[in-house]
Symmetry: C2
Subunit: 244 residues, 2 copies
Amino acid sequence: MTVKYIDFSDEKPLYAQVVEAIKQKISDNYWTLGMMISSENELAKEFDVSVGTIKKALSVLVQEGILYRRQGRGTFVASPDFSKSFSRFFRYGQFKGEASEVPGSQFLSAEVIPAPTEIAAALQLVAGDDILFMKRVRTLQEIPFCVEEIYLPYSRFKGLENLDLGKKLLYPIYNQNFSTPIFWAEEFLQPDTATGEVADLLNIPMNSPVMCVERIAYTYEDIPVEWRRSMGRGDSFRYHIVIR
Amino acid sequence: MTVKYIDFSDEKPLYAQVVEAIKQKISDNYWTLGMMISSENELAKEFDVSVGTIKKALSVLVQEGILYRRQGRGTFVASPDFSKSFSRFFRYGQFKGEASEVPGSQFLSAEVIPAPTEIAAALQLVAGDDILFMKRVRTLQEIPFCVEEIYLPYSRFKGLENLDLGKKLLYPIYNQNFSTPIFWAEEFLQPDTATGEVADLLNIPMNSPVMCVERIAYTYEDIPVEWRRSMGRGDSFRYHIVIR
């Protein structure tokens, strides 16, 4: 564990140093997503600063959405709400009523390749840098509903390809094994049609409608660390909004 | 103009009667979407009730999203925010940077037909009831980007087919000519592929990706009064969300 301590000779304000130190402790998994952090008094003691300085630092972190407060409970590390992800909406039609089930995964490949230009740009790498490329099929009740291509900067995720990923969610592994908690993400939705390979994997006719969700996932420091494209059966996708 | 007055012998609470009366005045276009309504004192005088009763009625209407308050300005009739509509996102690629332009419309047909079963159900009609069916192509910079099918209950919209609709938005016409302000809507998004007709109209190859947006639009009384399906070019659709 590397904990940054406060440097009283630094011209950076103390509260700003505490902000950085707390972010570091979260990155180091001292506090993990959803966990309650120490009390203001404990933090003041640990960093050797006033409770007022801690209060100011925590306000900044709450403002940034990194921490949140629960009245009468304490202060917690915020965790992104992936129930809002488009990929949760591939559950229409044949999967009705099963929205809470965690999908299964079949990995088709996991290999280190030179970063393609588009992916390198999105992940702030140089084209040709080592990228871990993984492809998997996601299933519900054993029925494939989505093909996923995942690109990760290999320098950060070295060795991930050797783990047994079959039944596990990836984000807890990024967090626990690679000190890379995913803090936020953006998604782009676009319709497409199934190529021969995607059609085979999804067991649908070639050129059938598919919904394509691209996601870029970021750390606390807003570093993009995962690019993924999910291609799902069009007839199992339905997304709803209310306009008021 | 039919204004419901307050019935003091009615066992319904006075504030609830005021709520109904204000809704009626909005339906009757006495106050239109976005307009400031009378002050609390004026309303109290008009309905012959206390300011306290008016305050309670306005609170309910604000709670329901029918009115909203602007500090120091007054109370306004809420107007649904169609900038959130999926149909605003058919502007990617060749239309970049033109998101604020109002699309043009070319009407292909407007005819009264017996309601198809699915549409009748969505509009709470009986299958076979008279429906006004309209088809149009929407354009940006003269380029077609979307084909739209619109179904309206004919009993409510009798004569709409004879109006010159070319350059006009439909919702202001529903409001002004048919006393039917659209108060909220729901949309469903699903990917599809272009049929021969849609491909011709959009000037894209048959079986190209299209994004399909279904919308049901409602009045203040939650009566569904319009069903529409917009089929847009897949390559001009891109929808973005942030997950935190």
